[in-house]
Symmetry: C2
Subunit: 497 residues, 2 copies
Amino acid sequence: MARELGKYEYETRTVAVVGAGPVGALAAIYFANRGWNVELYEARPDMRIAENKAKIQNRSINLALSARGLSALKSTGLGLDKYVLQSGLPMKGRMLHIGEKGKLVSQNYGVHGECINSVDRAKLNEDLITAAEKLPNVKVVFNHSLKRADFDKGTLHLENKETNQKVHATADLIIGCDGAYSSVRNSLMRHVRVDFEQNYLAHGYCELNIPAKINNKGEKEFAMDPHHLHIWPRHHFMMIALPNPDKTFTVTLFMPFENFESIHNKDDLLAFFRLHFADAIPLMGEEALARDYFRNPKGSLIRIKANPYHYKDRGIILGDAAHSMVPFYGQGMNCGFEDVEYLDRLLDEHEVMCVKPKNPNNNDLARALQAFTDRRAKDIQAICDLALYNYEEMRHGVTSPLYIMRKKVETALNLVLPKTVVPLYTMVSFSTRPYSRALEQHQRQGFWLAAAGISLSIGAVAGLAVVGLKHTRDLREAKDAVRASLETLARKVALKN
Amino acid sequence: MARELGKYEYETRTVAVVGAGPVGALAAIYFANRGWNVELYEARPDMRIAENKAKIQNRSINLALSARGLSALKSTGLGLDKYVLQSGLPMKGRMLHIGEKGKLVSQNYGVHGECINSVDRAKLNEDLITAAEKLPNVKVVFNHSLKRADFDKGTLHLENKETNQKVHATADLIIGCDGAYSSVRNSLMRHVRVDFEQNYLAHGYCELNIPAKINNKGEKEFAMDPHHLHIWPRHHFMMIALPNPDKTFTVTLFMPFENFESIHNKDDLLAFFRLHFADAIPLMGEEALARDYFRNPKGSLIRIKANPYHYKDRGIILGDAAHSMVPFYGQGMNCGFEDVEYLDRLLDEHEVMCVKPKNPNNNDLARALQAFTDRRAKDIQAICDLALYNYEEMRHGVTSPLYIMRKKVETALNLVLPKTVVPLYTMVSFSTRPYSRALEQHQRQGFWLAAAGISLSIGAVAGLAVVGLKHTRDLREAKDAVRASLETLARKVALKN
């Protein structure tokens, strides 16, 4: 397509986005908003058509949407954040099911009641595809899987899955949003020296279900508190549950593959559940539990790192194609959405227009993509590491007195020094502070808290912390007292070094 | 093929070896020796046919064959080690070209004059294919590239490169010897959770040439000493040269890609060579140097790690397909050959016969392949790490006084305590001690040498070392003295801990 601006005729840039999952659909919307011609290719059939739903092996049913994902949805200017939240379920904290009897302990995620949101992955994806499709410059093509891309020529070799025919397409820019086993990444690795790593956890997962219960009036209601992400932390393994709008919970059991392999029949399974998750059995029902457990696949957890993410001005990978992480920080999709927003800002920063530059030496787009590789890598590295670390925290750490104490102290300090001390979870899930800076600040705070444990009577801080927590009206006083303590600590630490 | 043994009829096992490089051809020979039916598939045409040679982009022209490779050749029982050495050129040490004038310094590889052998890669490969082909139970199939393998079904999906036809084959065991970008490995990764990593060095390489010179009698002769591997160590980069039977040297320049990219024309190139490799210019000739430099590709150096190497009793990867290493220890092919011999020993250990076991529960082959993954990984890891480390040593370490001193001390101690102190290079290149144990012993020795530096007068050891080196007839005396010193050291170290 050519367009006239003033007296010049310009050629509009075309981008081919491979993969119409949530990240790919969002990338299509962002590039359409920038005025590019967008072609969005998806290997699977259109999941919005009822008869196709049964064919599609969908990934986990719900996802935790938080600040970064919401920011990227909001920045589309289409009100997508608010629209998506309408059908999301806010979760204000973790509900731990402790011990054999499943004693309930609630731990808030945020200091000020912030929530993460359980959203239906399929619905979010469908909504984003529909939003993309409504834009005049987006063409969505289903049933086309990428075989390989030639970035230098800007050609995509696709296969029409319905006719088995080979199809060619061309684009100025090819974006791979095609997930952990990305074909675009495979092609990228033939164009540029990509450092690449994939690792599997020794743990796998199996999805189960807690149905809605029927109350006295014959209405469906949640079988557990729906405002929490439920966790059964069992040290070497764990089970979690997220609420769904239909009042059910999607349950996921994470444990070493050898444990899965040691359960051969219903008796083994029920004995295992009676020992570790006794309170969940009546909620699931023995029959349904056994049916789900033996029917559903035992999924594996892969971590993928790649670098660089781009090739010249011709291609880039985003989302899981660039960085598959384990799901324990609920940041996989949030990070993928943030990738899209991050790239969009870099296109602004490098003044990349939707029309090709007249001067071929002005490769604005190559510079923007290079900047993505240069500047985004450390954030991706940080969240991938944090996601792995959080598995340890969720299945074990949350139950340790030290963890609970640190959380309390950080929460209290955050109330009095809201910019200086911020709990890690808050920085990751309730802010858009770069992941790498969140991790750095967490490590600094850890040093201070450790130093506090050594150099000061921890009792003083803990006492203030409790004061800070329970009597926020005395905030100013507590603030001054904690500041004074920290200044003392700072002097002591300075003296020691 | 079925065979009768006693009153039973047995079915002979079939192995498909993918890739007829040196490692694949050797694997074919080993399995043929065990009585298996062997099919050896190679994507390229038969390189022994003259008209095909020009078509083939061969990898580096010569390789350093040492103890492990020779052991594996010898164990075929076909005299391949002696045959290959007939056309190999022994190199007894490194010849350093130091400083602008290229001052020559010889450093022996072994304590007792051991040599590594410069062999022609193409000839070695051709000889091994011919040796395999002569065995009655080996079928070599050229021009067939593997698209994918289904290990569960034991099927190979190949493409005949001459006719573009799809070809299917079946085998009980599929062995991938198809190099760094292995198709067998790609298929393996679809069957089992493979931890995989690939990294590129920021350095690349370019092959150059030093032609034979013509002496007074009109005969060709070597332009430099042919009994050495020549090195121009330049700290951040280096050049090396290995002798060829036709009296030429294959030269390889290793340096950061940014250095390659900063050389745009012949003037840049000659200025760079005059500054760093002045003594090499007259040997190469300015015209030929510039021609080779700008014509030959700038290769990249990739490291690949994978684990596991096998899938059940159905498939395994060996050689570069399992572990691409950088070339700086000259162990890539030696390690690949050792893989083959190692696997052969495990097949013996697990009593794997060439006929299928009558009892399907007796999965001897699965246990043998599992043992390869379990026991070989640490050796592969060790040599991959050593190979990378050796780049630092070759381009920089060899010139440092500390390195030279350690080498002298180790050499001297080795003469008096031949089992206790063995230089690392000797363990790696002149023994078949497992790589991981060689590395461990080297690290232990490093501790002792460091301890010696702290706890004893280094002068005493160094003095003894020189004595040990220069007057081997006084060996017994030196031996006793060093032993006494070491005992003193041992006591001191023991006291400290």
